[in-house]
Subunit: 313 residues, 2 copies
């Protein structure tokens, strides 16, 4: 198993406002979300998933996505993305000129039916329609497809890597410009990550540019490292490790933004993040989500003395 | 950075009874510790660090080490180790015919003085005396040296890898038969692990056979994975992730035995561990240490459906 040198730079996309909040019933006020985006931006984050264009009855806590997107677009150099489940959502993302729209596809047939009420191949067809619509209207919104349950599924169990590879080919043929592999339920281990990324990279090349790992079983950081070793340099994360999965009660959520930023910085990989600012944001998120369980370790342990020394030198 | 294939088997040494309990003031009754050893053994663990031969006034919670060692020696195939800080402790380990004694040496000069009141080179001299004493009496107790603070130190800050390499050479010259590298305070990241193990392996070869990682900043599993990639296949861990560091209040302890066993099993690396038995032991430890903070994720999330399917097939 040959490894490349680790990337020199990496992007952390903050997805707390979407993946984090969609799993929490309470509605965080729009004013707080705007502050969240502003603070994340000030902490150095340059990609933020601000919400989701889904029907309000499904996710009432994400109905202010258009307003958040409009604000994010005022911040220079910030790439704002939104999740869209279908053509209708994609049309809204293009109406509001989102720079990037993330389309989820489940590698698990069972999860796809439960989550989107479509088979994976029906989702591929929808992606093709979205690409056609995008090209027809001359929109500049990039189409990224996120492969949910790529490493296994709480409903179906095992997801065959061959099926992921088949769907990746189909999705790229349908016109996706970027793809990511997601361990939605925390089933991946570093060997699986290496193996699946190694299988997909020859097909997707640079278009495979996102790893999305949940830390349900404590392997989030190890999985990020395994992907880094293959040159992957863009990862989703949530401040405070929020997020979760309706199919895994009590399980922790995404890798924590601040912990991921710490690991990358410790390894000499530039992310442009300011730790004090990230930890201050985490504190605010803890207040906005009072009563919810947050995760992560850096907020408690603090930076190592060695990194503080480097910062001062 | 070339990687070897991952090892097919790995050993998890349970160090909760020593590294875990030494950081907790309360005294766990000997009867509970005997049950702990028995249960760990029944769960498949074949290496257990049962305690430490240090003066009772320093660690009153570990004064029953001789009794625990005697019991461990009745369990077929179990390798019981004890920590010894000096020749006097080593003599006791040999008196009681421990199979292995672990001698700590701090790679950090400052930590060495604070912890052992000796410079690292004075500890090297003590190791030579212990080897001489061992050979003189024809004892079969193996001498393993654990390099504390090999990746940095909360007192001194940075620890130079060159200094670790120099001390490894000195310790091997002094007669150590095995060595391990320890991230005592949770400063290591996977790149540092790879780099330091790569520097030490050419000198120590198979004698470098233990990784000891604290999970203070959430990188314990990633660090284990980085060591596995270099062929290291023996790791210290504590049930419930207990342990910690007096210099990092609130920080979490060693990697959790049950989480480590899960990651290894998920990657197809045999450890001989029974998850139900490990989780049952964790529950008992939580009772014995009621009020202390335990860590780990598997106890909450459970095994993935995929691993349960495999177990049934």
């Amino acid at each position: 198993m040959p490894s490349s040198p680790l990337p020199r730079r990496a992007i952390i996309r903050e997805v707390g406002l979407r993946d984090g909040l969609q799993s929490i019933a309470r509605v965080v006020p729009t004013a707080a979300k705007l502050e969240w985006i502003r603070d994340a931006y000030d902490a150095g984050q340059r990609e933020i998933e601000v919400g989701s264009f889904v029907p309000a009855r499904l996710l009432p806590q994400l109905t202010d996505t258009a307003e958040l997107l409009a604000f994010a677009q005022t911040l220079p150099g910030l790439k704002a993305s939104v999740l869209v489940p279908n053509l209708k959502g994609a049309e809204r993302a293009m109406d509001y000129e989102a720079e990037l729209m993330l389309l989820p596809i489940s590698a698990s047939h069972a999860h796809s039916l439960a989550n989107l009420r479509k088979t994976p191949d029906q989702v591929v067809e929808e992606i093709a329609r979205i690409r056609d619509a995008r090209d027809a209207r001359g929109s500049k919104t990039t189409i990224e497809v996120g492969f949910s349950t790529a490493f296994g599924c709480t409903i179906q169990g095992r997801v065959e890597p061959d099926e992921v590879v088949r769907l990746v080919e189909a999705v790229l043929d349908a016109g996706a410009e970027a793809i990511g592999l997601a361990d939605t339920v925390g089933y991946a281990d570093p060997r699986m990550v290496r193996s699946l990324f190694e299988a997909v990279l020859p097909i997707a090349g640079d278009r495979l540019n996102c790893g999305h790992f949940h830390d349900t079983r404590g392997l989030g950081m190890a999985n990020v490292y395994a992907a880094l070793e293959l040159g992957v340099n863009r990862f989703d994360a949530c401040v405070g490790g929020i997020g979760g999965c309706p199919h895994a009660p009590g399980a922790s959520g995404n890798v924590a933004t601040e912990d991921l930023a710490y690991m990358l910085a410790s390894m000499g990989i530039e992310t442009g993040q300011d730790f004090d600012a990230l930890l201050a944001l985490r504190k605010k998120v803890a207040t906005w989500l009072e009563g919810e369980t947050l995760h992560g370790t850096l907020w408690r342990a603090g930076l190592p003395r060695t990194m503080k020394q480097e910062a001062l030198s």
